[in-house]
């Protein structure tokens, strides 16, 4: 049993719903109690879908448990097929129904329906949402793609097909985009355009808007483009084993990765990679490279960034941060344990300790300890960053409604690189502003209590975090009350609380140090104070003087 305040992924049947909702012509009968219908909201509200997800819930109640929940399931399945006329029926159980062991797959088979039934076994007490999506996609492919014999396997492009000789080799499936996916809608559009530009035809896109008939046609492509390993990795491996279809391994996020992707696709398609790159740039380019090289981007150099998310987005983001924006990666982590190995390999490149965790409080501690200038993470890390007063941008699920913008906003491809530049750099103080604030700190009009000048003289003063007179931490507004007694304080000290600063009662700030701290621009003052206190503790000091402040600064080299 695990204490969870927030969960990065939903249960696995939500992953199954993401696949079913993305597709056309399928219906999902989910043996589940009424409360599970909350999941419909995720699609109709966060993703603003104009249709209900194609899911029928059996909504059995306590009084049904003694009687015939199996009958309930069969009736629900029969009615759903009659009403919605799907081409294929997915059946499964959510966490509660798993406990009553009704065997939805067996029950559905017993109905003798004329359409294929795809039973889903999604262990709710072990697995999570992304795994559920991946497994569902895989089961759909297993059930809907006709079995081949070895003769047919040659129909698809195999690794022995000479590059460029077979025009059939420039046909690919695009695998991975689901409903409720982080920018899947726009990534897909970007990659479709890119493939068209380099001369690759698309056979099937799945699960996004694929019908069961489309799934059956998957083997007709020469290779697979895997946009999201989390949802399509398993299917891609299966198609490779069974139909000899190779697949891409590069996730095209960032300029360099996009170029790598273009070359990889070209090789798989039997197209000259340099030619492909030329065609790609002719059709679209990106300003992100020039912007990153321009003078106003100099201040980005060495900015400390903490990266967290699902493994493939986190790994891709770290590369962009380091190699395209000149940031310093000070933390890299993921909640996707299935991809821990890939994440660890990437962390080694940046010389950081990998963080494999789905405990958001652990992540918060790690972010705090790293003192980054920027957090690139999920909606969870966005809130961590807000509370710590650190700029942030969202790069991965878990998502909220903001992550489904009205505008076209991919993460992938050339436009994706533009989007990344804008969204990651914008939260940071603009370079010139940072210089000016540094130059004019202490100015009689330009102090931290002043309101923003464009708001006029009547505007209320902005409440700035005060320079702490003692070693006490600054209380964030939403934190629970501070411990009142000594005993509670000891308890408080013993457990690092996520919602508070580290409380060090034995550390004192001398008045000259306080004054000096006040001269540091407010937007880095918190970090300066923390670093100084950390340094003092490491040095075994109990009094922080002005010298301590500057020694700490030199020590941390910033």
């Amino acid at each position: 049993m695990k204490l969870a305040l927030w969960t990065y992924e939903g249960p696995p049947h939500v992953g199954a719903m993401r696949v079913a909702t993305a597709m056309r012509g399928v219906h999902y009968v989910l043996h589940a109690p009424q409360g599970d219908t909350y999941a419909d909201l995720l699609f109709t509200m966060i993703e603003r879908r104009t249709e209900r997800p194609p899911v029928t819930y059996t909504t059995f109640q306590a009084r049904d448990l003694g009687k015939d929940t199996a009958e309930l399931f069969k009736n629900a399945a029969r009615d759903a097929v009659a009403r919605y006329q799907p081409q294929a029926l997915m059946v499964g159980a959510s966490c509660t129904a798993e406990l009553i062991q009704d065997d939805p797959g067996g029950l559905a088979e017993a109905l003798g329906l004329s359409i294929p039934v795809v039973p889903l076994e999604l262990p709710s007490y072990q697995k999570k949402e992304n795994w559920g999506a991946s497994e569902t996609f895989y089961q759909l492919v297993r059930h809907l793609v006709p079995k081949t014999n070895s003769a047919d396997a040659g129909k698809a492009g195999t690794s022995s097909t000479p590059a460029g000789k077979d025009s059939h080799s420039a046909i690919a499936n695009i695998l991975g985009p689901t409903a409720l996916g982080f920018r899947h809608r726009d990534d897909l559009q970007e990659i479709e355009t890119l493939l068209a530009a380099i001369g690759v035809q698309v056979n099937v896109i799945a699960p996004w808007q694929a019908s069961p008939q489309d799934i059956a046609r998957l083997p007709q492509a020469a290779f697979n483009v895997v946009l999201y390993p989390e949802t399509a990795g398993q299917v891609a491996s299966y198609l490779k084993r069974s139909f000899g279809q190779p697949h891409t391994t590069v996730m095209p996020i960032g300029l360099k990765a996009t170029e790598d992707f273009v070359r990889e696709v070209a090789r798989l398609a039997g197209i000259d990679p340099d030619q492909a790159l030329v065609r790609a740039y002719q059709s679209a380019g990106s300003r992100a490279g020039w912007y990153a090289a321009s003078v106003d981007a100099t201040y980005l150099t060495g900015k400390r960034v903490f990266v967290f998310g699902d493994a493939s987005h986190a790994i891709a983001a770290a590369r962009v941060a380091a190699e395209e924006l000149g940031f310093t990666v000070v933390g890299l982590g993921s909640y996707s344990r299935e991809f821990a190995r890939e994440l660890r390999t990437a962390a080694e490149v940046y010389g950081v300790t990998p963080l494999i965790s789905d405990d958001y409080l652990e992540v918060e501690q790690a972010v705090e300890a790293a003192s980054p200038d920027l957090v690139l993470g999920t909606q969870m890390e966005r809130h961590i960053a807000k509370r710590l007063g650190v700029p942030c941008a969202v790069i991965s699920a878990p998502v909220h409604v903001q992550d489904f913008p009205a505008r076209y906003s991919p993460q992938m491809g050339f436009e994706g690189a533009n989007v990344l530049f804008d969204t990651w750099v914008h939260p940071l103080m603009m370079g010139l502003e940072e210089h000016l604030l540094g130059m004019f700190k202490g100015d009689f009009e330009f102090h931290e209590g002043a309101a923003a000048s464009h708001l006029g003289h009547g505007a209320a003063q902005i409440a700035m975090p005060p320079s702490p007179p003692s070693g006490a931490g600054v209380k964030p507004e939403t934190s629970p009350s501070m411990p009142a007694t000594q005993a509670e304080q000891a308890v408080h000290d013993a457990q690092p609380m996520a919602s508070r600063e580290q409380f060090m009662p034995s550390l004192q700030w001398a008045s000259d140090a306080e004054k000096e701290l006040g001269k540091i621009p407010f937007f880095v003052r918190g970090k300066a104070r923390r670093n100084t206190e950390k340094f003092a503790v490491e040095q075994g000091l109990s009094l922080i003087t002005k010298d301590t402040l500057y020694e700490a600064k030199a020590h941390y080299g910033r």
């Binding site: 049993m1 695990k2 204490l3 969870a4 927030w6 969960t7 992924e9 939903g10 249960p11 109690p33 009424q34 409360g35 599970d36 219908t37 909350y38 419909d40 909201l41 995720l42 109709t44 509200m45 603003r48 879908r49 104009t50 249709e51 209900r52 029928t56 819930y57 909504t59 109640q61 306590a62 009084r63 448990l65 629900a76 009615d79 009403r83 959510s94 966490c95 509660t96 406990l99 009553i100 262990p123 709710s124 007490y125 072990q126 999570k128 966005r382 809130h383 509370r387 878990p398 909220h400 964030p476 939403t478 629970p480 411990p483 509670e488 308890v491 408080h492 013993a494 609380m497 996520a498």
Partner: protein
């Protein structure tokens, strides 16, 4: 203060659920004593409603030193954070102890694990005074005895923390019934009333601002012993006894009412304080029970009544004659429908409610127009068919249905806003009306914009909107 007049009336013959299964409605029949309703549609098919766990979202804001620990699956954790709008508060006073495979293997281990999780939680949160272990569908199915766990943990953690339990599971509770289960768990903790002076107990979670208004009004008319359940702090739990007269502020509190009656308290029958008329009758029921004269009553509420009526007028003009359809959700449907019909002149089509408590809703049902079609329970697809056939001007429904219905051309009002907004009382009546008017107003303001990505094919049509 005068002794109360006649003892509080209440409907006799409770045609309610048996043995803790709140959803048991079908086939139980009506009590012969109650007025039978004309053809209530009763359905048992797919329900599209929240489970009782969602009550945690407002209850944890209301009881400020309580913590709600769901013992359940990742689905439960995901539901609460999705319904709570994801991360509004970085360390909230609710959490889930997520059950895993190892816990399923043996209940003895599961109990040890639960104790460990609670210890971990309470070490982190020394400010908590009251911990609720909240049962879920999985914990119910595996028969994890949370009441025993609560006793065990209370013995360990008193005097700092008291541990109680209730079930918010969706196989037992629908949405607001989660509050019923929570309050019912508090009732046995209420100390026995030491005096015999009649006390009014307002039962049901209200926004603080509304609660203060109503308590203020009742106090002004001479009822000076008033308490509220739930309290704002765990140590402020009121006393209860035969001198307690309770009035329900919410229509979903069957078990809580029963528990209070078991402690000797008596229910004051009343409609619910929604709208000007509803509030007036609710206050009058309390006033009568406490011997307040008509003159004093009228004088006390005069100003609020007057401004409430005045504020409602423009909304009545806008909404009068428009038809409305309710999908079941919070059990507020019947009193809301009564308000819309009686005070705003709207035409009721179908009023769906998850569960209809005859005696608690009697005063509301009596005021519904004869043509109103009530349905209890749900079969979602059939109900959607009926709604489409009726083509109502406004559909009140949950967020899983709202956007799809909008895309079909319906005007919708998303129902959960009604649970999270202060809507009771004289001074909120116009706010309540505005909530129902807003979808019409919005449609008029943005009329003509193309709805579909491919251009102008679909535009918002203004359906039967009067000149404003």
């Amino acid at each position: 203060m005068n002794a109360p007049l006649a003892t509080a009336r209440e409907g006799s013959g409770y045609a309610g659920p048996s043995n803790g299964c709140r959803l048991d409605t079908g086939g139980d029949g009506l009590s012969a004593v109650d007025n039978p309703l004309p053809e209530v549609i009763r359905e048992r098919g797919q329900r599209e409603v929240f489970c009782g766990l969602t009550g945690i979202i407002w209850l944890h804001r209301k009881i400020q030193d309580a913590f709600f620990l769901v013992v359940g699956s990742r689905t439960c954790a995901h539901l609460i954070q999705s319904a709570a709008g994801v991360m509004i508060f970085a360390e909230p006073r609710f959490a889930t102890a997520i059950i895993d495979d190892r816990d399923l293997a043996g209940l003895a281990d599961a109990n040890e694990e639960l104790d460990r999780v609670v210890d971990q939680l309470l070490r982190r949160r020394p400010d908590i005074r009251l911990l609720f272990l909240v049962g879920s569908c999985p914990s119910e199915v595996i028969k994890l005895d949370l009441s025993r766990a609560a006793e065990r943990l209370t013995a360990r953690h008193l005097p700092a923390v008291r541990v109680l339990n209730y079930s918010g599971s969706g196989i037992e509770t629908t949405f607001t019934q989660g509050e019923d289960a929570c309050l019912a768990a508090l009732v046995p903790q209420m100390p026995a009333s030491p005096s015999s002076d009649p006390t009014l107990l307002i039962v049901g979670s209200l926004a603080d601002i509304v609660e203060d208004q109503l308590v203020g009004l009742l106090g002004d008319m001479g009822i000076d012993r008033i308490a509220c359940l739930p309290p704002r702090r765990a140590d402020a739990l009121a006393a209860v006894g035969p001198n307690t007269f309770f009035i329900l502020a919410q229509p979903f509190l069957a078990d809580t009412a029963r528990a209070l009656e078991a402690r000797g308290a008596q229910r004051i029958a009343a409609p619910f304080p929604l709208g000007v008329e509803g509030t007036r009758r609710w206050c009058w029921a309390a006033a009568q029970a406490f011997g307040v004269s008509e003159q004093v009553f009228a004088h006390t509420i005069a100003a609020a009544l007057q401004r409430g009526k005045k504020a409602l007028e423009p909304w009545r003009e806008r909404l009068s004659g428009k038809s409305v359809f309710f999908f079941p959700d919070s059990q507020l449907e019947i009193p809301l429908a009564r308000f819309l019909s009686q005070e705003l002149g709207m035409r009721l089509t179908e009023v769906g409610t998850p569960y209809l408590h005859r005696s608690h809703l009697q005063e509301e049902i009596d005021q519904l127009p004869a043509h109103a079609q009530i349905s209890e329970g749900q079969d979602l697809d059939l109900q959607l068919d009926r709604c489409r056939a009726l083509k109502p001007d406004l559909v009140v429904c949950g967020l899983g249905l709202a956007n799809p219905l909008e895309a079909e051309g319906f005007n919708t009002k998303w129902s959960i806003e009604l649970v999270f907004t202060p809507i009771q009382g004289f001074d909120q009546a116009a706010d309540l009306a505005e909530i129902f008017a807003r979808p019409f107003v919005r449609k008029q303001r943005i009329a003509g914009i193309p709805l579909s990505e491919s251009g102008a094919r679909q535009r918002i049509a203004i359906r039967a909107v009067q000149a404003l």
